[in-house]
């Protein structure tokens, strides 16, 4: 009995050996055959020589979360071989390089071993050591294609696209693929897993969240990016720069309609963003938890001096240096309340690349409208892994909301203007940009207390009035944030699931499984902070809510209790914080352990 389009394959490689592109070739070929996949890079904080894994879940049912239990292991790293063999699911298959025999004690009776002499084949075919290393990866992709039934021309097409401009490399790669195919055929190898063409992808794309955020910044009109390298956010700034080099060059002069600055540290990166925001340019930085820690002082300035800024936080496993190349949702309370004194910040929480794009573009409108820092909060899983997503779309009639900025004419018309005066009752004052008017609108921006006319003051009444106005602005913020997604048109249960970000993949799968066992559940996905009325209503309407998140301290639960005055007993934490993306099985087990859900 063959398992069709429903299995997990893991590649165990040595990092720095070119395995990433070969493994992606495999993943994309399954995607091209119309079947949903979910790919996870499990990589070390290292450049060369350490074990790295790539996991692909093939799921005809469209489950895009990680699933534990490896059906097929491609083990080409002797360093991790023993562990890799041990991690294969009972009844699974291990494909290994049989150039050298396996140690007896590695063998397991409950899994199948399929040996392909990868090193031997390479040594016979190639003389150049780098080629021997690179093509070994392509050979096993060819072997897998033959074993699983992946169409060879799909792989050929992908190689042609990959090497566009370097066409002479294509035949070598095709030849290596064919070597793998031939070996499987000649030795009559077969396994009980296969890939069959389906039409389940439609116009969907395969994209990393970081690149989608970068494109969102391009479309959202960001002109200044300041950043400091830190995994897993580095590729946001790099992708922004590379898209900008394509899309933001003056066609006549070749000059750039953007500025990207690699700062000396995260403090400076945020300082640059705030300087540019103060001066009316849409600007952003991308970082991860440790960087946010360093930016805290400036974040308070943005809040108190009311300066637009955008911060994209790609979360990794903390605290401290933690596990820099593993995922987590543990910066939530950090970004929500970043900095000293009474501060809070709008946070957008995308779940997929399409939302990364949309919410990043939106973040610039919100930052300028609200004159404050807006956070786009994603994680390593979303940022650095390829996700199947609805295509990104842009409405050409859309214009940017530049917020309440006074022109020279406005200033001439106004009798009196106060930088921190709440004219409209929404808590948002009018601002002016340097250089606007020769006599009017100049003011002093500061992190110290000031009155409504931007004059320095230590008068407690003036200070309090300003802090209270910021709360009015916070209420306005709530009306502008994207609403949570509800997974039902009417509530059907007194039990709910609540989750956000990448947890959505596993949580929706867990929900299906729990419901298949006869239970009935409602679900909500939080997309932003502060919470909208729909979140309050969901909590009110359910007796118990499982709050599923990827951190130890149940940070979303804390925010809900803190912001909505929710009875803590109603909110049951379901947590995963081992650095690996949460799985549906994990969620089901934890929920069942708490309370069996049956009809």
């Amino acid at each position: 009995m063959k398992k069709t389009n429903d299995f997990v394959i893991r590649f165990a490689n040595v990092n720095g050996t070119g395995s990433a592109s070969a493994n992606f070739l495999f993943a994309k070929s399954v995607f091209r055959m119309g079947i949903p996949i979910s790919a996870k890079n499990i990589f070390p904080s290292n450049i060369q020589g350490l074990p790295t894994w790539y996991e692909v879940r093939v799921s005809e049912k469209g489950y895009l979360g990680r699933r534990s239990g490896i059906d097929l292991m491609v083990a080409v790293n002797p360093q991790s071989l023993e562990k890799d063999i041990a991690s294969v699911k009972e009844g699974g298959v291990l494909l290994y390089d049989c150039t050298k025999p396996l140690y007896e004690h590695y063998l397991r009776p409950d899994i199948r071993f399929i040996g392909i002499p990868l090193m031997k084949l390479c040594n016979e075919a190639y003389t150049d050591p780098r080629q021997r290393q690179l093509f070994k990866n392509i050979i096993y992709v060819g072997a897998l294609a033959e074993l699983l039934g992946i169409e060879f021309n799909v792989l050929e097409d992908l190689l042609a696209e990959q090497f566009a401009g370097k066409e002479k490399l294509i035949p070598y790669n095709v030849q290596a693929l064919q070597m793998g195919v031939d070996y499987v055929r000649e030795n009559n190898l077969n396994i009980a897993l296969n890939v069959e063409r389906r039409d389940l992808i439609g116009d969907k794309i395969l994209m990393e969240g970081n690149a989608a955020c970068a494109l969102g910044a391009i479309y959202g009109g960001a002109t200044m990016a300041a950043w400091y390298p830190i995994t897993p956010s580095t590729s946001v700034a790099q992708a922004f720069e590379s898209y900008a080099e394509q899309l933001r060059i003056d066609p006549v002069t070749g000059q750039k309609k953007f500025a990207v600055l690699q700062a000396e540290d995260e403090l400076a990166a945020m300082g640059m963003v705030i300087g540019a925001g103060w001066n009316g340019a849409r600007s952003f930085t991308a970082t991860s938890g440790p960087g946010v820690s360093l930016m805290n002082e400036f974040i308070g300035l943005s809040y108190f001096a009311e300066i637009p800024a955008v911060l994209i936080d790609v979360q990794r496993t903390g605290p401290s240096t933690g596990m820099p190349t593993r995922t987590q949702q543990s910066d939530l309370t950090e970004v929500a309340y970043a900095s000293h004194g009474d501060t809070k910040h709008p946070v957008l929480i995308p779940s997929n690349p399409k939302e990364c794009f949309e919410m990043t573009a939106l973040s610039f409108d919100l930052a300028e409208r609200l004159q404050t820092l807006v956070v786009v909060l994603i994680d390593l899983d979303l940022g650095m892994n390829d996700h199947v997503s609805e295509p990104l779309k842009w409405d050409d009639s859309r214009t940017y909301d530049r917020g309440k900025v006074l022109s020279a004419d406005d200033l001439d018309r106004l009798e009196k203007w106060g930088r921190y005066l709440d004219v409209d009752g929404d808590g948002i004052p009018y601002r002016t940009l340097p250089g606007t008017h020769p006599q009017k609108g100049g003011y002093f921006t500061r992190g110290t207390s000031r009155d409504e006319y931007a004059k320095y003051t230590e008068d407690g009444k003036e200070y309090k009035k300003n802090m209270d106005r910021l709360l009015v602005k916070w209420e306005t913020t709530k009306t502008l944030m994207p609403s949570a997604e509800l997974y039902q048109s009417a509530y059907q249960s007194d039990t709910g699931l609540l989750f956000f970000g990448t947890t959505a993949y596993a949580a929706t799968e867990a929900m299906e499984r729990l419901e298949a066992e006869g239970g009935q559940l409602d679900a909500i996905r939080i997309k932003s902070f502060p919470f909208g009325p729909e979140v309050e209503d969901f909590i009110r309407q359910h007796k118990q809510i499982f709050v599923i998140e990827q951190n130890r301290d149940a940070q979303m639960r804390s925010l809900l209790i803190n912001e909505l005055d929710t009875n803590p007993a109603k909110l049951i934490p379901i947590l995963n914080y081992d650095g690996m993306p949460i799985t549906a099985a994990n969620i089901v087990n934890l929920i069942q352990a708490h309370q069996p859900i049956t009809s």
Binding site: E161, D203, K204, I205, L215, I218, Y219, G221, T223, M224, A226, L247, R248, Q255, K256, K257, F258, A259, L261, A263, E264, L267, A268, A269, M270, G271, M272, V273, I274, G275, A276, G277, W278, N279, G280, A281, S283, E297, F298, L301, P391, L392, K393, W394, D395, Y400, T432, L433, P434, G435, T436, P438, Q439, G441, G442, F444, T445, R446, G447, Y456
Partner: protein
């Protein structure tokens, strides 16, 4: 608190070419201690901007935290100001300049703000050659927290409380030269004749212009034994040259002696006329500037005046090749590639 100056102006006050009186370049009344060196520097900035015919709204003034960083409130009251975070003014100024390269940026900092907490940002803004004037009001102590030694206090300098500073000082001007600053000057708050033309030249310089101004703290560091007191500084300064700034529009009438005198043409055509006092020193030669400073220091002297200038280096905007128009004025047409481009990009991800 800040105290507003009276708005009344005498109708016959002299005006500059733009029709502004000097008072139009002033800010609110200073709340610094009476006799503070910083107030003299503020006055020099006012004088320089008045004489240079600067449009006040085309200048943005930025600072960090400390007594020095309070001064932007006391000059250029019609300009936008930004009193940012301790030691972080350079990054804010960098972002501001990226957003609008057409404004002039004056950054004011102190020795605590630049030589300690902000050292990282100080050195990196120099490396990038940001187009700005960067003035350090250097008094060797933390005035606003009541007189602790700063990192520019000289070894052996005595504080008001009587303790002797045991640590080596950081020489910001030497450091700026070493890091590739394209305009480096040093002056004394009590020497307005030198300071005003230096500020004017710095404002016309296209690139990073650094002026380290020794500015005594009358309250906490003006005692006998302090090397940053008025008396000590007056006794120990030695100027590289006398300096005259000749704006590009003005006719040159004076006769100069080509032997000891040098003229430097700034980018906008203005001239700096220097009558050299120091030997073996060429303001366009980094090595001779660094060596003149070392020599002065070994003799216990403070070398003032223009130390080094390079009018040919690329500033940050030129280095990153950004468009000449301000980035903050670009709109959707310039910035948004549109749906057709996005749809094409999506094709490549399928």
């Amino acid at each position: 608190m800040s105290f507003q100056r009276p708005l009344f102006r005498h109708p016959n006050l002299p005006k500059n070419e733009l029709g502004f009186a000097k008072a139009d370049y002033e800010g609110t009344l200073s709340t610094l201690c009476a006799g503070c060196g910083h107030d003299s520097i503020s006055a020099a900035i006012v004088q320089a901007c008045y004489e240079l015919n600067v449009e006040p709204h085309r200048v943005a003034k930025l600072s960090g935290i400390g007594c020095s960083s309070k001064t932007p409130t006391y000059f250029l009251g019609n300009s936008h100001g930004f009193n940012s975070v301790h030691g972080r003014m350079p990054s804010v100024a960098t972002g501001a300049s990226m957003a609008n390269r057409t404004l002039k940026y004056i950054g004011v900092s102190g020795d605590g703000d630049s030589a300690s907490i902000g050292m990282g940002q100080f050195v990196h803004v120099i490396r990038r050659n940001l187009n700005m004037v960067y003035i350090v009001m250097n008094n060797g102590c933390y005035g606003l927290t009541k007189g602790q030694d700063s990192a520019t206090a000289d070894v052996g300098s005595k504080s008001k409380a009587g303790s002797i500073n045991p640590f080596q000082p950081i020489d910001l001007a030497s450091m700026a030269i070493e890091l590739g600053a394209t305009f480096v000057a040093q002056s004394f708050s009590g020497d307005k004749r030198q300071l005003v033309p230096l500020i004017k030249a710095a404002m016309d310089h296209r690139g990073f212009a650094f002026i380290n101004v020794i500015s005594p703290c009358v309250t906490f560091n003006n005692n006998v034994g302090s090397t940053k007191s008025y008396d000590y500084v007056r006794d120990h300064i030695e100027a590289t040259a006398t300096i005259d700034f000749v704006p590009h529009a003005e006719e040159i009438t004076a006769q100069y002696d080509p032997g000891t005198e040098t003229e430097i043409t700034l980018h906008d055509g203005s001239l700096l006329h220097l009558k050299k006092l120091a030997n073996d020193w060429d303001p366009m030669d980094r090595i001779s500037a660094a060596s003149a400073m070392q020599k002065a220091r070994s003799k216990g002297q403070i070398l003032t005046g223009l130390l080094y200038i390079n009018e040919d280096a690329k500033n940050l905007h030129e280095t990153i090749e950004s468009v000449p128009s301000p980035l903050n004025q670009l709109d959707e047409t310039d910035l948004c590639p549109g749906s057709a481009v996005l749809d094409d990009l999506m094709m490549s991800l399928r």
